[in-house]
């Protein structure tokens, strides 16, 4: 388990990092943040970059702060930083819950928020929560700063809309609106494993009527996706078990090209998506009712 040789640069500022990136062939550079996905690939020699660009000495990319109506999370903030953040706990319990589902302590202590977004694993929790919450991803490149909606950021398996010369700097997570009921659930072999399939549901109740629905399925196909047909079934209706079942069936039917691999068949994933949709909607409604919404 030894990486193939590479050169290593750990610049102290983002400008220097961008300069190094622009001076090298982007196909031969790998960017190191927490390293909890990249280091295994290097150790297994599945990745053999000529240059490893380490961002972890760049202080300006860390930290978690409040920002009009949401949280600003530096790309290099670790999952442990999120777990320890009273601000996240208070402002966004869904983001907190998803954090604790990731890996185990060793991984969360090093793995970064930005790294998980850029890795764009279809079974990872953070991209799914980013899509559900309508997060914004901020990138810097030769052309300056660019703000990308989560739904436009994740393209397919391990692929984002970041351009070769760009570096993700910040993730902006909107606060949950008052009265929002939410749920994130997944099926994994063990706690901390990548999900075989997972679901996120969010909604509010106005006079007992479901509004502002978000249903996201992850782990089931090439990326985390919203399921608007399931959302539309519930919007403007009083929540009921029959409607949750209908939404679950709609999710199962509309799932495009479900993943079929050694962990689970496509048909199994389709059924899991249906079941987890029902379970998360049920829990989200319970939370919305509990909040007095």
């Amino acid at each position: 388990m030894k990486p193939a040789p590479f050169e290593y640069a750990a610049p102290p500022t983002l400008d220097e990092a961008l300069a190094i990136l622009s001076e090298n062939d982007p196909d031969e550079v790998k960017i190191l943040a927490g390293g909890q996905s990249l280091m295994p690939l290097l150790n297994m020699r599945l990745a053999r970059p000529e240059l490893l660009l380490d961002l972890t000495r760049i202080d300006e990319l860390g930290g978690i702060s409040a920002r009009n109506g949401g949280l600003s999370i530096g790309a290099l903030a670790t999952k442990r930083d999120v777990e320890d953040s009273a601000l996240v706990r208070e402002r966004n319990p869904l983001f907190m819950e998803s954090t604790i589902m990731i890996g185990h302590p060793q991984i969360r202590n090093r793995g970064t928020v930005g790294g998980s977004m850029v890795q764009a694993d279809p079974a990872a929790e953070y991209p799914a929560v980013a899509v559900a919450l309508g997060a914004e991803l901020v990138a810097r490149g030769p052309g300056g700063e660019r703000v990308i909606e989560a739904d436009d950021f994740f393209i397919t398996y391990l692929t984002t809309s970041l351009e070769p010369g760009e570096i993700l700097t910040e993730v902006r997570i909107p606060d949950l609106a008052a009265g929002t009921g939410w749920s994130i659930q997944e099926l994994a072999r063990r706690h901390g494993d990548f999900a075989i399939v997972g679901a996120v549901a969010m909604l509010r109740l106005e006079s007992g009527i479901c509004v502002d629905l978000r249903v996201v399925i992850f782990g089931a196909s090439d990326r985390a996706r919203r399921h608007s047909e399931a959302e539309a079934l519930l919007a403007g209706e009083r929540p009921s078990a029959a409607l949750f079942d209908a939404a679950g069936r709609a999710v199962g039917q509309s799932l495009e090209d479900p993943t079929d691999d050694v962990h689970a068949s496509a048909e199994y994933r389709r059924d899991l998506a249906r079941v987890l949709c029902v379970r998360t909607l049920t829990e989200a409604v319970e939370r919305a009712e509990g909040s007095g919404g």
């Binding site: 030894k2 193939a4 290593y8 302590p105």
Partner: protein, 160 residues
């Protein structure tokens, strides 16, 4: 290519070493500094055998470069005993027979030490969740969990 010079603190001692840019902290600990108490299992962050503390935080030393250790404080299993006197965790691992082949043990000891530093009175559930990143193929975990809980109780008693 010239080697990189890294200055760090390991198990309470200032240490300098030379490494290649692509060497992991684990490889430098074992092959350069000859601190072979820290073990290599998977090299992918799944097994926890290489666990060390980095500025007090539990990490897999196979998933960080030695170059990243510049200016950092590293603690390994080799800093746990004081001379011939074992750390309470080590003593209770022996008493509870919480090991068989032993390759996972250094990682479990370091991970358990990190847990007790932040939570001196963990529940069994908290111990099991915290140690989820450490794999043992011999014991079935139950003896390990009992050893950690017993060591925690002894350490709380010593402070009282």
């Amino acid at each position: 290519m010239s080697k990189r010079h890294v200055t760090t603190t390991i198990d309470g001692e200032g240490r300098e070493f030379l490494c290649e840019d692509w060497q992991t902290l684990l490889d430098v600990l074992r092959d350069v500094l000859m601190k072979t108490g820290t073990k290599e299992g998977c090299g992918t962050g799944d097994c926890g055998a290489c666990s060390v503390l980095l500025d007090g935080r539990l990490v897999c030393s196979c998933l960080m470069l030695a170059a990243e250790a510049e200016g950092r404080v590293i603690e390994t299993v080799e800093g746990m005993a004081e001379g011939d006197r074992l750390h309470p965790l080590q003593q209770h691992f022996l008493q509870e027979a919480a090991l068989q082949c032993g390759i996972c043990t250094p990682g479990f000891l370091v991970a358990a030490r990190a847990l007790l530093a932040q939570n001196p009175d963990p529940s069994e559930r908290e111990v099991r969740f915290w140690l989820a990143g450490n794999l043992c193929r011999c014991t079935g975990y139950d003896k390990i969990v009992r050893a950690v809980l017993a060591a925690a109780a002894e350490m709380r008693g010593a402070e009282a």
